[in-house]
Amino acid sequence: MLELLDYAFMQRALLAALLIGVAAPAVGIFLVQRRQALMGDGIGHVALTGVALGFLLQTNPVWMAVLVSSLGAIAMELLRSSGRARGDIALAMLFYGGMAGGVMIINLAPGGSTANLTSYLWGSITTVSPQDITAICVLSAFVLCVALGLRRQLFAVCQDEEFARVTGLPVRALNLLLAVTAAATVTVAMRVVGLLLVSALMVIPVVTAQAVTRGFKATLILSMAVGVLVSISGTVTSYHADVPPGATIVLIALGVFAVVSLLALPLARHRARRSAQPSPATENALAAQP
C-alpha cells in the first residue's frame, strides 16, 4: 500500500488530493448555503478557456486558468448582485462561452488540438508536475485563509445579505473575494479531479455532512473531513485500479453520501420528535406573565 509513496508523481498527486479535499468543501459550503451549488461548474467551464489560452501563449495553463476563471467568477457575481440577469441564465451563458472558447483557442495554438485538454477535463494523477504542485500549494493556502479566516463574515453575507449590509460589512468586496476564492479552488482541483467534475468536491461533501450536522461550523469541519477521505481514497484507488481519478473520487463521494444519508434517517426522525416539544424557556416565560 505504502509503496505508492515511492513514486514522485504519486507523492504530488496525493498532496494535491489532500489539499483539494480540504479546500473545495471549505469554499463550497458558502455556495451551497447561497443555493449556488452549480457556480463551481460554471467556473470550471470558463477555466477551460484559460487552460487553452495558456497553451496558445506558451505559459503555465494553471496560472492562466486562475486568471480567466477569476474574471469569469467576478462577472458571474456582478451579474448576480446587480439583478440584471437571471442567475441561471447568466450561468448558462458562461458554461457555453467557456467551453466553446476553450475548444476554439486550443485549436488556434501551434500544434494544439482538443486532445491537449483531455487531462484538464477529466483529471489525471500522472500529469501533476512540480510547477503545478507549487501553484496548488499557494492557491490552497489562499483559499483556506479566506474560507476559514473570514468564515463568520462570509456566513453572514451568504445567510442574509441585506442584514449583512446593515451591519456595515463590506458585502460587495466579500462577495467578490468569495467568487475569486471559488475560482482558485476550481483551478487547484482541475489537475486531479478534472474541470468537469470539480464542482462535485465543492458540493457533495457539504451535502453529506449536513445530513448529520445541526450547525454551520460542524458542517464545515465534517465536510472537510469527508472531502479529504474521498479525494485520498479516490486517488489511491485510481492508482491501483488504473482508472481516472476524477471519476473515482466523485463516485466514492456519491457512495459516502448515500450511506450517510441512509444512516442519518433515524437521527432525523428522532430530532423531528424532539423539536416538536415546546421549549422549557418559553413555558417559564409564559408562567412569569402577569
Binding site: V166, T167, G168, A281
Partner: protein, 241 residues
Amino acid sequence: MEPAADSAIAETPLTLRGVHAELGGRPVLRGIDLTVGPGEVVALLGANGSGKSTAVRAAVGQVPVTGGELALFGTPVRRFRDWRRVGYVPQRSTAAGGVPATVREVVSAGRLARRRLRPLGRADRAAVDRALELVGLADRSGDPVEALSGGQHQRVLIARALAGEPELLIMDEPLAGVDLASQRILADTLRSQLAQGVSTLVVLHELGPLEPLITRSVSLSAGLVEATNACHPHELETGIL
C-alpha cells in the same frame, strides 16, 4: 441656535423629512416626515402596500432615497458608516439557507456590526449570550434554526440585532405570524431595551401587546403620512411600565 440644542438635533436617532423613494420606477414613498427621538418607540402602521417596509428599508440604506432628507444620528444615510448603532430586524422570510445553522451562529452574525472583519472574542460571546437570554432562547442556542417555530425564529432575528448592542432598533413586522407566547416575550424584550434608552422604529399591522410601550404611532397610506397619534408618553415618564 444654542450648541446644546444643536447636539440634541444631531443625536436624533432617525429623521425623515419629505422622503421620496421608488421601487422599480414606481413611487412608493411620496414625501414622508417621521422622527424617532432618543428613547422613543414609534410604530409605523398602514395597509399592505402603503410603504411601511420601504420606509424602513430606506432608513437602513437598502432603498435609495430619491428626494428629501433621511438622517441617522444626524448623518445623511448615504454618508452614515456607524452601523453598530443600528440594530435591524428584517421581515422574517421562510426561505431557509442551503446549510443548517444553529441559533447561536445566526445570532452571532449580529455581532459583526462591532467586529467587522476581526474574529469574535470573549466580550462578543457574552453579548450573544445576553441577547439569547433576553429573547428566552438560551436553551435552544445549539438547535438548528430550521427546527424553530415562526415565533421562535422571529426571536432569533431580534436577538441577532440586539447582539450588536444598538442604540436604535428598526424592526419590520416583528409580530407577523408570531404566536401569542412569542408576542409577549417580544414585548418584554422591547421593554428591557427601552429601559436602557434604546430608541425603536417598529412596523406593525396592529399595536397588539406592544401598545403600552408605543410613544407615537404613524399611519401611512399610499406613500404619505395619514395620521400621527401620541400614545403613552406619560406612563413612560412616570414609570408605570
